[in-house]
Amino acid sequence: MLQKIKLFFEELEVDSLESKSDILENILLVTKEEGLSEINGGQTVDELKIIQTKYFGKKGLLPDLMKYMGKVSNKDKPILGKIIHDFKTTLENKLNERLISFKNAENQAKLEAETIDVTLPGTNSSIGHKHPLTLIEEEIKNIFTNIGFTVVEGYEIEEDYYNFERLNIPKDHPAREMQDTFYLNEDVVLRTHTSPVQARIMDKMCPQLPVKIIAPGKVFRRDDDSTHSPMFHQIEGLMVDKNITFADLKGILLHLVKSIFGEERKIRLRPSYFPFTEPSAEVDVSCGNCNQEGCRVCGYTGWLEILGSGMVHPSVLEMAGYDPNEVSGFAFGLGIERVAMLKYGIDDMRLLFDNDLRFLEQF
C-alpha cells in the first residue's frame, strides 16, 4: 500500500489532486477496511494498543501519510488534508469505541462482583404507630381546622357546674341519669362529655363572635362492657354566630361524614333530646358494610348511629352572656371510639384500651 501511495504521488502532477482524488481514496479505502477489521478483531485492551501504535504511533501509517502534505502544491494541500482527516477519524473513532466498550465491560464485571442480597430486611427499622384513636382525632381536627375551626381543650376533671348546670342540666334533672357520673366530691366530676368546653369557651369569648371550636378529649361514664368503656374519647364541635341555622348544622355534619367515610355516604338526622341543644338530632351514617341493604354491623337497619347534635339551647347561650335573639349556634359531640370502630371495622371496643401491640401496629 505504501508503495502504491508513493507511486501515486510520484506520478501526481502539480495542482491535479482534485481530479485524481478518487484514485487516492480508493487506495486508502482498502487500507481503511483492513484497519477497521483489524480493530474489530482486537480482543483485549493490549491488542488494541498495538493496533493503535501501528496506525497512529510515531512510526505508524499516519505520520507516513502526513509527510506528503509537505510535498503537494498549496492548492492540493486542503484536498489531501481532508482525505487524510477522514481516513484518520474513521479509524480513530472505531478504536475509541472499542476501548470504551472494553472499559465498560471491565467496570461492569467489577460491580457485579459486589452484588448484595437486596431482599434482606433493612437494618434498625422499627416502625412506630400512632394509636387509632389519635389517628381519628387528628383526621377530624384536620377536617374542621380546614374550615376555620380552632382546636381547644377543656378539663378532664370538671366542676359539676360546667358539666351539668351550665348545660341546662340542674341537679335532679332526669338527664343526669342518662350519663352515670363519677364524682370526686359533690361539686367535682370526671367530665361525662366534652360539652363543658362549650360553656368555658363562650365565657372566654363573649361578646365576641364567631365562636368556632372543636374540642377533643377524654370523658368518663360509669359503664363497662363490650360496647362501653368507663373512659372514652369525644370531640365536641361548637359554632356560634349570627344567623347560624339547623340547616347549617346538617350541612356541616354531611361534610364531616363524607370527609371521614367517603363521598358516597349519606346521613340521617333523627329528633332526639339533649338538655343543652334544641332542636336536637341524633345523626346516623349510612352503613358502608351493606350499602343499606341491612347487615349485622348496622343491626339490619342500614344506618349506624354516630353522633349527637343540635342547636345550642337559648338558655346555654344566655348563661354565657349571649343574647339568644341575636345569636344562634349549633353543637355536636361525637364518639371517637365509635368512629374508629366503624372506620377500621373493629368489633370490640375493649381492643382500643387493651393496647396489644399486635393490634396497634395495624394502624
Binding site: L120, T134, T150, E156, P230, D241, N243, F246, A247, G251
Partner: protein, 796 residues
C-alpha cells in the same frame, strides 16, 4: 318502655304494621330500640284437658296422661311433671309443633308411645317474671273452661308485636301508650279514638284530703269502689298486660297497671276499710320513722320522704310503694283508688335511697302533668265497671292546691324559619300545631300557641321550633353551609405540641398507647413511688378499687401495658403515652398537667447484621432528638440516687433552666419484678408544661475558615462524669472548640484500677481566620494542662 301493637292500635282507626310504626316513631324522635314478634317462640300448641292419669309401669317418675284436645280421640302423652292432676287445663304441644328447645316428635318413653308434650311456661317462651310462683312449678296451668284444642297463640293473644321504646327524658308522656298513639296520628291521617271514662262529681264531704307539702304534691284525687270482687282479670285484659311485660295479678291491681301503661299515670289502691279517721294526709315522714311496705319489709324513712297517711297512721310511701297495713287482699270489700301528682325529684330521692324502683316510681321521676291525674282516675273507674270489679261511687275526692300552668307561647313564623334555616309556610306551621292539639291564635305577626296539657315539656318558643321541625320531618331539612365571619380564636401551643410529639415519636419507631386515667392506688407502691394516692383525687363511686384514683403518674398505666404485652411473648416493646396527670390542690379543681412517658424494653436480639439492644443511652438519644425537634431547650442531666422507681446507679433528673422537668433511667429491678418483666426496661417521664412555642430561629453566618480535627486520649478517675470533663474542655478552649466527639471509653487492668481512658476527637475552628497548626497546638495543650490540673488527668 314496651308498647304492644295490639294495645296501640286500639286507639286509632287505621291499620299499620310493626315496621311502619317503627319508621314513624323513629322519625318523630321516639327511638325504637327493639321490635319483637310474640308469636315466634312456639307453634301448634293447643289447650288440652287431662282426662286421666296413670303411673308408667316401668318408670316411677313418669305418668301416662290421656289428654282431651277437642278431638274425638284423646292423646296419650307421657309426662315427667309432678304438678299435673285430672281435670287440669294444660298447654299441649302436638306432634310436629315447635316450642322453645326444639321440635316435638312422636316418641317412646320406656316403651310407651307419647304423642306430644305438656309444656311449662319456659317452654312457651314466657318470661319468668310474668309467671306467678304457682305457674313456675312445672306444667303451666291454664284457666279452666277454655275451648279445648284452641291454639295457645290465640288464647294468649300472641299474634302481636312489641316495640321497646328508648324514651328521652323530655318525652315522659309517651310512657303512656295512648300518647304514643297521638304521635302516630301526627304522621297519619287516622282518627284518634276518645277514651271511654266514668266521670264523677266532686264530693262535698266523706273524705278529707289534706296536702301538707304542696311543693311535693300538686294534686291528689281519690275515688271509692264498693262491693269489690277481687278475681283474675279476663284473659283479653291480662294478655295486654302480659304482652308489655306486666304480670297480671288480680282485676284491681291490673286496672291500676293498665291505666299506668295507657296514660302514664301511676295509681294506687288502698283497702278502704283499713283506713282510719276519714282523712288522707300527704305529709313528709319523721326522720327515722319505721314503715312496713306491702312487700312486708320494714323500712327506715328519712324526713324528706313523702308519705300518705290516714287520720291515724302512715299508709303508703307516696308514688313508691303502698303500705302493708292498707294492702288490698282477697277479703277486701271496699277500695279507695288514688291518682296523684307527686314531685319528681322527691320520688327519685326516695326510691333511690330505699332501692325501690318500679314502673310507677319511674314515671313519677320523669314528671307528669297535673291534668292527667283526674283523667286517669275516670278511666280507671270505667275499667272497674267494664270488668265488673265493683261499684264505683258517684263522686270523687280531690285536693288540687297547685294548678297546672300551661303557658301560652308567643312565636313568629319568621323566627321559626330563622332558626331552622328553612322556609316553612305559616299555614303549614299552624297545621302542625293543630295536629299536635296545640291551640293557636293569630295576632298580627305572632302566633300564640298553647300546648296540649300532657306536653309539659313544651314551655318556650324553642320547644315549639323543635315540635314544628319534628313533625315537618328532619329529612326535609336542607343541608347548607354557614356563612359567617372570620374566626380569630388562636390555637394554644399545647394542642400543637401534643400532635407534634406523637408524630415525632411514631416516626422514631415507638407505638402510642392510651391507658385509663384512673388507676389502682396500690400501683404506686408497685412502681416504687413513696406516696400512696392523693385522697383529693379519689373517685367517690368507682366501678372498682383498681380504677379509683385519678393518676398522678403515667408509669403505672404504661408499665401495666408493657407487662401485658411482655406476657404475650412480645419483646420489641417501645411505647409511649401523652396524657394528663393530676395533682390534688386546695382549689376547687385539681391541677391537670400534660406529661409524656416512654417505655423501652432492652430487647437484646441477634439480627443478621449483628446484635441490637436498647439501653439507657438509646432512650436518652430519643429524648435529645425529641427535645431538639420540638424546642430550643438545652437539657442537663443529673444523676439520681434516691429513687426506688428507677435504678439508683442508672437514672437521672432531666433539667432545663435549672428546673427538673422529668426523669429518665433504667427501671428498678424490683419494679420490673412486680410486673413480671424479666429483662431490663427503661423509662422516661417528661413534664410538658414548660414547653412553650420555640422562638423563630435566627440565622448565624456560616464559618468562612476551615476547621481542624485533633484527637485527645486521657486517663481520668473512673467516677468523673463526662459533663465535668466537657466543662473543663470548653472553658479552657478559648471558644475555639466547636465540636467534641467521644470515640472511646475504656476501663481495664492495663490502665489501672479506679481510672478510665477516654478518647475525644476535638474540632477547632476560629470564626475570624484560618487556624495554624501552632495555634491549635497551643489551645490543645492548654486543654490538656487544665484536665491534668483540675481533674487529675494523665495523658495516654
Amino acid at each position: 318502655m314496651k308498647v304492644s301493637l295490639n294495645w296501640l292500635k286500639q286507639y286509632f282507626d287505621g291499620n299499620l304494621d310493626g315496621s311502619e310504626i317503627e319508621i314513624i316513631l323513629t322519625k318523630l324522635g321516639l327511638e325504637v330500640e327493639n321490635r319483637e314478634k310474640l308469636d315466634e317462640s312456639f307453634s301448634n300448641v293447643v289447650v288440652g284437658k287431662i282426662d286421666s292419669l296413670e303411673k308408667h309401669p316401668d318408670a316411677d317418675k313418669l305418668q301416662i296422661c290421656m289428654i282431651n284436645v277437642g278431638k274425638s280421640e284423646n292423646l296419650q302423652i307421657i309426662t315427667g311433671a309432678q304438678n299435673v292432676y285430672v281435670g287440669m287445663y294444660v298447654p299441649v304441644a302436638l306432634v310436629g309443633s315447635k316450642v322453645v328447645g326444639g321440635s316435638i316428635l312422636e316418641s317412646k318413653l320406656r316403651g310407651l308411645p307419647s304423642y306430644g308434650m305438656l309444656c311449662s311456661g319456659t317452654e312457651l317462651g314466657i318470661d319468668a317474671s310474668l309467671l306467678s310462683d304457682k305457674e313456675k312449678e312445672g306444667i303451666l296451668p291454664l284457666s279452666e273452661g277454655l275451648e279445648l284444642g284452641k291454639d295457645l297463640l290465640d288464647v294468649f293473644s300472641l299474634h302481636d308485636e312489641v316495640l321497646d321504646l328508648g324514651l328521652t327524658p323530655n318525652r315522659a308522656d309517651c310512657y303512656g301508650i295512648y300518647n304514643v298513639a297521638k304521635e302516630i296520628i301526627l304522621k297519619k291521617d287516622f282518627v284518634l279514638k276518645e277514651l271511654e271514662t266514668l266521670k264523677g262529681d266532686l264530693a262535698e264531704d266523706g273524705l278529707e284530703i289534706i296536702i301538707n307539702n304542696e311543693d311535693l304534691c300538686h294534686r291528689y284525687v281519690a275515688r271509692k269502689i264498693k262491693n269489690v270482687k277481687i278475681e283474675p282479670s279476663p284473659l283479653w285484659f291480662a294478655n295486654l298486660l302480659r304482652n308489655v311485660g306486666v304480670r297480671p295479678i288480680n282485676n284491681i291491681v291490673d286496672i291500676t297497671n293498665y291505666v299506668m301503661f295507657e296514660l302514664g299515670q301511676p295509681m294506687h289502691a288502698f283497702d278502704y276499710d283499713k283506713l282510719e279517721g276519714g282523712k288522707i294526709i300527704v305529709d313528709i315522714a319523721n326522720d327515722g320513722e319505721l314503715f312496713t311496705t306491702l312487700d312486708g319489709k320494714e323500712r327506715k324513712l328519712e324526713k324528706d320522704m313523702l308519705l300518705i297517711k290516714d287520720g291515724v297512721k302512715s299508709v303508703a310511701l307516696a308514688g313508691v310503694m303502698g303500705g302493708f297495713n292498707s294492702e288490698v287482699d282477697e277479703n277486701t270489700k271496699n277500695i279507695l283508688f288514688e291518682s296523684a301528682n307527686f314531685n319528681s325529684a322527691s320520688i327519685r330521692r326516695t326510691s333511690r335511697k330505699l332501692g325501690l324502683r318500679s314502673e310507677a316510681s319511674g314515671r313519677f321521676e320523669r314528671g307528669l302533668s297535673e291534668d292527667i291525674a283526674l283523667k286517669a282516675m275516670n278511666r280507671a273507674m270505667f275499667l272497674v265497671e267494664l270488668l265488673g270489679a265493683g261499684q264505683v261511687e258517684k263522686s270523687y275526692f280531690e285536693s288540687y292546691p297547685v294548678k297546672q300552668v300551661i303557658p301560652t307561647i308567643t312565636s313568629t313564623v319568621k323566627r321559626v324559619n330563622a332558626i331552622l334555616g328553612m322556609n316553612i309556610k305559616s299555614e303549614e306551621i299552624i297545621d302542625i300545631y293543630n295536629k299536635l292539639n296545640f291551640k293557636v291564635e293569630v295576632e298580627d305577626n305572632n302566633l300564640l300557641v298553647t300546648p296540649s296539657p300532657h306536653r309539659i315539656d313544651v314551655k318556650t318558643e324553642i320547644d315549639l321550633v323543635e315540635e314544628v321541625v319534628r313533625v315537618y320531618g328532619y329529612e326535609n331539612i336542607p343541608a347548607t353551609l354557614p356563612i359567617g365571619s372570620t374566626n380569630t380564636i388562636k390555637v394554644e401551643y399545647k394542642v400543637k405540641l401534643i400532635d407534634q410529639i406523637k408524630s415525632y415519636l411514631a416516626d422514631y419507631g415507638l407505638n402510642e398507647i392510651v391507658s385509663y386515667s384512673f388507676i389502682d392506688k396500690l400501683s404506686y407502691g408497685k412502681c416504687g413511688y413513696s406516696f400512696a394516692g392523693d385522697e383529693r383525687l379519689k373517685v367517690m363511686n368507682p366501678l372498682s378499687e383498681n380504677q379509683s384514683y385519678m393518676r398522678e403518674k403515667l408509669l403505672p398505666g404504661i408499665i401495666e401495658i408493657a407487662s401485658r404485652n411482655y406476657k404475650r411473648q412480645r419483646r420489641n416493646i417501645g411505647i409511649f403515652e401523652v396524657g394528663r396527670v393530676f395533682k390534688g390542690t386546695d382549689d376547687k379543681l385539681p391541677e391537670e398537667n400534660l406529661q409524656l412517658g416512654i417505655f423501652l424494653l432492652e430487647n437484646e436480639v441477634k439480627e443478621w447484621y449483628g446484635k441490637t439492644k436498647n439501653d439507657f443511652y438509646t432512650l436518652k438519644g430519643l429524648l435529645e432528638k425529641l427535645v431538639s425537634d420540638i424546642s430550643n431547650k438545652k437539657l442537663v442531666f443529673e444523676k439520681l440516687t434516691d429513687m426506688k422507681t428507677l435504678h439508683p446507679g442508672r437514672s437521672a433528673s432531666i433539667i432545663s433552666n435549672k428546673e427538673i422537668i422529668g426523669h429518665i433511667g433504667e427501671i428498678h429491678p424490683n419494679v420490673l419484678g412486680e410486673y413480671d418483666i424479666k429483662e431490663k426496661g427503661f423509662y422516661l417521664e417528661l413534664d410538658l408544661k414548660s414547653f412553650v412555642e420555640p422562638m423563630t430561629k435566627q440565622y448565624s453566618s456560616l464559618p468562612k475558615y476551615p476547621s481542624i480535627e485533633r484527637d485527645l486520649a486521657v486517663i481520668l478517675p473512673k467516677d468523673l462524669n463526662y459533663a465535668k470533663i466537657y466543662d473543663v474542655i470548653s472553658k479552657s478552649s478559648n471558644n475555639m472548640v466547636v465540636g467534641c466527639r467521644i470515640f472511646d471509653i475504656f476501663e481495664g487492668p492495663q490502665i489501672g484500677a479506679d481510672v478510665k481512658s477516654v478518647a475525644f476527637s476535638l474540632i477547632y475552628q476560629n470564626p475570624e481566620k484560618t487556624m495554624t497548626d501552632d495555634e491549635v497546638s497551643e489551645i490543645h495543650n492548654n486543654i490538656v494542662n487544665e484536665l491534668v490540673d483540675n481533674l487529675g488527668a494523665r495523658l495516654r
